[in-house]
């Protein structure tokens, strides 16, 4: 409990510092103006969404191999946190694109990959909800593997088969000669968001473990011969 509070406070501190970095310390971008600051939320969220996804993949593979309930709890937690960050990416993207390029959506390879990732997350969570209690974790783990294999193909297919439309690339141009203060803002926010992601994943994991334990307790009682 104590370590949790300490970690939460650290996270809060990091987030505050990151906010400062993004909104104050980083210089205003030459061509795009202050709107560009969304980038400091957009990019870290994207990175974390994908990291969560791969964590989910790892946990799912482990679950299928060992059938360990802890890894199932990790899988659920990372999926739910991942989809939140994914949603953030999909909202900040258009918010950025509209004032800057005049269009809501671009078929930028990375943004579109994130959209597909979001769809896969959604299907994962829906499967979780709609499958019967017993087979739940197994089916979801299988889906997670399909999803993970798919992500590779998704990125390639969008790059290769959507290039008819020349599209503005998110954050691609920035990397050439990026102002070090901007880089700092990105790194700090990445750190802050990672901390927050870990915090929430931890909470969700604990919640799931509790739920599993409650089910276990019910099961034990049912076996001992009571609840009917």
């Amino acid at each position: 409990m104590k370590s949790f509070v300490i970690f939460a406070l650290i996270t809060l501190a990091l987030l505050t510092f990151g906010l400062y970095q993004a909104l104050v310390a980083a210089p205003t971008e030459a061509t795009m103006g202050d709107v560009q600051r969304i980038f400091y939320y957009h990019l870290p969220s994207a990175i974390i969404a994908f990291l969560c996804f791969f964590a989910n993949f790892g946990a799912s593979v482990y679950y299928l191999a060992k059938r360990c309930p802890k890894s199932d709890a990790v899988a659920v937690a990372t999926a739910e946190v991942g989809i939140v960050f994914c949603t953030v990416v999909l909202i900040t993207g258009p918010l950025w694109a509209r004032p800057v390029w005049g269009i809501w959506w671009t078929w930028d390879a990375r943004l579109t990959s994130t959209l597909v990732l979001w769809l896969i997350y959604v299907s994962y969570l829906l499967l979780r909800r709609y499958s019967a209690a017993g087979q739940n974790p197994v089916l979801c783990a299988v889906l997670a593997i399909f999803g993970a294999v798919d992500v590779v193909f998704v990125y390639m297919s969008i790059r290769w088969f959507r290039t008819q439309h020349p599209a503005p690339v998110f954050g691609g141009g920035e990397n050439s000669g990026i102002d070090p203060r901007m880089a700092h803002a990105v790194y700090w926010n990445l750190l802050a968001f990672s901390a927050m992601a870990l915090l929430v994943i931890w909470l969700r994991y604990r919640l799931e473990r509790l739920r599993q334990q409650v089910d276990e307790a019910h099961a034990t009682r049912a076996i001992a011969g009571g609840s009917r």
Binding site: L119, V122, L139, V142, F146, V154, M156, I158
Partner: protein
Amino acid sequence: MAAPAIAHPAFGDVLRATLAKDLRLEWRSKEAINSMLFFALLVVVIFSFAFDLTAEESRRIAGGLMWVALLFAAVVALNQTWARELRNQALDAYRISPAPPEALFLAKTIGNFIFVILLEALMAPLFVIFYNLRSVGPPYQLALAFVLGTWALVSNGTFFAAMSIRTRSREVMLPLLLFPISIPALLAMVSATSTVLTGEGDAHLSLVFLAVYDVVFTIVGLFLFETVLHAE
């Protein structure tokens, strides 16, 4: 009462037997084919009312339209072919037999593949007529795109259908699971078809992509099917 000689059932034998059985059952009941055909026809007609296209435009987007129609029609068939197994709990009979689960998966996939290819063969002329299509590029590439694309759709579709029949709201579950995973294949299929029809560019990349996609996902499906079959 002489005991029968039980050898371990051969993969190929089980595959052939299951495929033959499915084809025979479908021929007699015509459930999947009928619902698929009707649905596809409906989609084609509705599309042709919804989009009023010039010949040039048609060639560009016919590929996309066709694949969308196929996707929806295929989903109808996919649920049907597994629903049949559930009807008299016939799937249990397979589960308790020593027959390898992968053979069941392949047999179902091949069966569904045949049905969807049949559907395409019937729908393609309709598309050609309604949209005044004419292929500018080499037709063999078009055929290849159809074969590879259909397999991509059907192999994943068969797998996810097997998963979704055990869930609540199974009719909704299948498209929900299938569509996001199929997006890369869809992009490649549409790209290949449009490229060949318009004659602009080279479809090689998309075809190779589809081939790789097919191989990878078929292997993943074969690998994981047993887990799904016995998940309860």
